[in-house]
């Protein structure tokens, strides 16, 4: 196909991942109002989540810059942008942990209702994907220092970038479908 095996492999894998999140989103939509008397979508803090979503979106920009630096063989700048990307991922994850804590205190736990279960499992799996992404980025950073990742090997950065952008795009969907639209639909 004229594409590197590894890149085609990543694309193929991501195709599978879309269905993984798609099925979770479908379950969430089914249970949107099934709150069993517990908290529903009104619990979401849209301004707060908007900020952490913005941070995650910006991390895609720094990821692109990292890849661009690597294609030019500039490992120093590549490392800087990789750290920036990982850092923003951590900010996002921190925001998610904070948000979960707030929700639990307000009475929304995994076992409260089908709504709660589907919310936590969906966003939790997304968080796990972000976490894996951060591990990948930090590994890339380390390997570029040890010489395992060479200036000519920008494909490695590109592949991690593909994964990172995917995680980001899934969040765009989750933020829109899970947070924004229900909030507008329910609260008017």
């Amino acid at each position: 196909m004229g594409v590197d095996h590894r890149k085609l492999g990543i694309w193929t894998f991501l195709g599978s991942e879309f269905l993984f999140f798609g099925a979770f989103v479908a379950a969430y939509l089914l249970y949107l109002t099934t709150t069993a008397g517990g908290p529903g979508v009104e619990i979401f803090d849209i301004p707060f989540t908007s900020i952490s979503s913005f941070v995650l979106l910006m991390s895609s920009l720094t990821m692109v810059l990292a890849h661009h630096a690597h294609t030019q063989g500039d490992l120093r700048r590549m490392r800087m942008w990789i750290l920036a990307t990982a850092g923003q991922g951590m900010v996002f994850l921190g925001g998610q942990v904070f948000e979960f804590n707030v929700f639990v205190r307000e009475g929304l736990t995994l076992t409260t209702s089908p709504f709660a279960s589907s919310f936590y499992v969906l966003t939790g799996f997304h968080g796990a994907h972000v976490f894996i992404g951060i591990v990948l980025l930090l590994s890339l950073y380390t390997f570029s220092l040890t010489g395992k990742v060479k200036p000519g090997q920008h494909l490695k950065t590109e592949m991690i970038g593909l994964y990172w952008h995917f995680v980001d795009i899934v969040w765009v969907v989750i933020f829109t479908v899970v947070y924004l639209i229900p909030e507008i639909a329910v609260l008017g």
């Binding site: 661009h68 030019q72 063989g73 090997q153």
Partner: protein, 658 residues
């Protein structure tokens, strides 16, 4: 790249090519295929024993040699074993061995990932079976519907986690095979020159790719309910068990095609060889296979017609289910027309292929009956359904796969399996199969329910007779299976030497020696037409009959031989196909063995038990193990040329940016 590279032994990577360690660390697609096959034989024996126990229990009315609890575990594990540990991995064995050979490549795209897939499969199977020792096996049937599967009495945690582990194996393999087929075909092998088996493998692996994540979601939800008290399927808080059914069958129906398409591909290779004719309507067979792949995602609710779907959904899914019979029918007709007017040779692979077509037609017809909604309501959860899916999976998939075993056995071992024993195997297998599952049509229509531990006496003497016949049939199949096993084991050492092309075959894998040399092809062949190997052997006379070409292709893979069909590609153009390295065997680089796939996948045990028992420490250990495994994998010394661009050698992309 320096020429001394091949001489270097890469420290930190295993180097032996003989003995146990070489098998444990192998990344050779041929060896991995053989390992899949042998493991399948073990699990097939276990699944067979379970089916024997089921038939023992049901041989007479109102008897319980097994307790109800044990019976439930046994029939659940029978289903899980045969679907996930036998038919799917047996297809994977063929994918592994044949895909690189049939497309003219030297290995799959990711050899270590391939080994990873195998070990995950093996350990996933062991994990599932370990549940017998840890408080009982899963007992809520292979579909695992809640609420019964979320109740504390069942052991479905092992089901949810075990199938997810096996899903990782299938998914990794699917990515690997898709990339291999798309990226590594020999020069000249366009899509419409690919063997049908390769086409069906491609469709199957796309189905795996898109179906596996859906069952992963269903199983994670189930596990969350079982182990962590989530509320996905608990009606008390508004949870909907129907969601599970939808997700399960959105995976489950493509899964049916995941099991049958490889067998269809195998039969599409064997029937032309046994008929000495090209496959009738190659393009139709290919597009029918692809159509099955698409429509297969749109028929799932026919498994749920007796639930509260509503008339619109019932009609729609009834229609799509009838639609999917069309491409399947196209294939059946193409196979029949392939045989029509051919010079048929009834050797064992051919017999099993014809058996496949005939038995699959019976299963297909009872399948169309399920599409008729009122009819379906009558048959749902009766033995009629059991008869139907055994006719497509045993009479279909398994017959096709066994045909493949007989057909490619000489490719793997260099020796033929015994024809006489093969014929005994086929006829007893066919007889036993129909004895077991034929009567189930009748007993099902007379009202015998599935998944009940006791055959109720109130169904009457006729149903009891049918059940007795089924149970006797198991003895016939067992005897037949023993003949098969004996034939396999003895033929490995004592079988007749096959030579390079025992069947007068048509596809590339027979272009090279049998057993296949380590490098597969000394020179990567250039493909100029469909059925390349056949056309190297035969030309057509004026009447369109095949005439042997005097300087046949049987020797032209040998590097010293310059004559023949011009498949030498010393100009290095084979490099475009993936990893061809010119015709000189000395410079062919094959993937190095590796400890890491085996070492890493062991981490699935702690991770799996940690999830089943909701133990964060065990789970964390498993996770850490897997992560460390990834780093070991990455840090493994790579052979030169295996790694991507060396330093200071900008790629075209780099140059463009600059």
């Amino acid at each position: 790249m320096s020429n001394t590279a091949e001489k270097t032994r890469y420290s930190g990577r295993p180097s032996s090519d003989k003995g146990l360690v070489s098998w444990l660390t192998t990344t050779d697609h041929k060896r991995i295929g053989v390992m899949y096959f042998i493991t399948v034989l073990v699990f097939f024996t276990l699944g067979g024993i379970e089916s024997g126990l089921i038939r023992w229990q049901l041989a007479q009315a109102e008897q319980t040699p097994l307790t109800e609890e044990i019976y439930n575990q046994v029939f659940t594990m029978h289903g899980i074993t045969m679907v996930f540990l036998v038919v799917m991995p047996l297809s994977a064995a063929f994918f592994n061995y044949l895909i690189p050979l049939m497309i003219g490549a030297r290995d799959v795209a990711f050899p270590r990932l391939n080994a990873f897939s195998y070990w995950v499969y093996l350990f996933g199977g062991i994990f599932l079976y370990s549940s017998f020792l840890l408080g009982g096996a899963p007992n809520a049937s292979w579909v695992g519907y809640p609420p019964i599967s979320t109740e504390a009495v069942s052991n479905m945690g092992f089901y949810a986690v075990g199938l997810n582990i096996l899903g990782v194996s299938s998914l990794a393999a699917a990515v690997n095979f898709i990339v291999t087929i798309l990226n590594m075909r020999a020069p000249g092998m366009t899509f419409m020159r690919m063997p049908v088996f390769i086409w069906m493998s491609l469709v199957t692996n796309f189905l795996v790719l898109f179906a596996m994540p859906i069952i992963a979601v269903a199983l994670f939800m189930l596990l969350a309910d079982i182990s962590f008290g989530a509320q996905f399927f608990d009606p008390a808080t508004g949870g909907d068990p129907m969601l599970y059914q939808h997700l399960f069958w959105l995976f489950g129906h493509p899964e049916v095609y995941i099991m049958i398409l490889p067998a269809m591909g195998i039969v599409s290779e064997i029937l032309p060889v046994g008929s000495r004719k090209p496959l009738f309507g190659y393009a139709a067979v290919v597009f029918a296979g692809a159509a099955i792949g698409f429509i297969g995602f749109g028929v799932w609710a026919h498994h749920m017609f007796t639930t509260a779907l509503g008339p619109v959904a019932r009609s729609a899914f009834g229609l799509t289910t009838m639609f999917i019979a069309v491409p399947t029918g196209i294939k059946i007709f193409n196979w029949v027309f392939t045989m029509w007017g051919g010079k048929l040779r009834f050797h064992t692979p051919m017999l099993f292929s014809i058996g496949f077509v005939s038995m699959f037609v019976i299963g297909g017809l009872s399948g169309v009956m399920h599409a008729i909604v009122p009819h379906n309501a009558q048959q749902h959860d009766t033995y009629f359904v059991v008869a139907h899916f055994h006719y497509v999976l045993f009479g279909g998939a398994l017959f096709g796969l066994i045909a493949g075993v007989y057909f490619w056995f000489p490719k793997v071992t260099g020796r033929l399996m015994n024809e006489g024993l093969g014929k005994v195997h086929f006829w007893t297998w066919l007889l036993g199969f129909n004895l077991v599952f034929g009567p189930m049509h009748m007993s099902g229509l007379l009202g015998q329910p599935r998944r009940t531990a006791v055959l109720p006496a109130e169904l009457g003497g006729t149903v009891e007779l049918y059940n007795l016949i089924s149970s006797i049939g198991v003895l016939v199949i067992t005897g037949s299976a023993l003949v098969f096993l004996y034939n396999l084991v003895t033929s490995v050492r004592k079988g007749q030497i096959a030579g390079q092309d025992p069947w007068d075959a048509r596809t590339l894998e027979w272009l090279t020696e049998s057993p296949t040399p380590h490098v597969n092809f000394y020179a990567i062949p250039t493909v100029t037409q469909r059925d390349e190997f056949w056309h190297r052997k035969y030309a057509e006379d004026d009447a369109g009959r095949a005439v042997a070409v005097p300087a046949g292709a049987s020797e032209d893979h040998v590097p010293e031989d310059g004559s023949g069909s011009g498949d030498r590609d010393t100009d290095g153009s084979a490099g475009d196909a993936g990893h061809g390295d010119g015709a000189d065997g000395e410079h062919i680089h094959m993937p190095d063995p590796s400890y890491w796939p085996l070492v890493q996948t062991l981490g699935f045990f702690p991770a799996g038990y940690g999830m089943v028992y909701a133990n964060p420490w065990l789970f964390g250990l498993g996770l850490l193990w897997l992560v460390v495994g990834v780093f070991g994998w990455i840090n493994e010394p790579v052979a030169e040329g295996d790694d991507d661009e060396p330093e200071d050698a900008p790629t075209p992309a780099t140059a463009a940016v600059r």
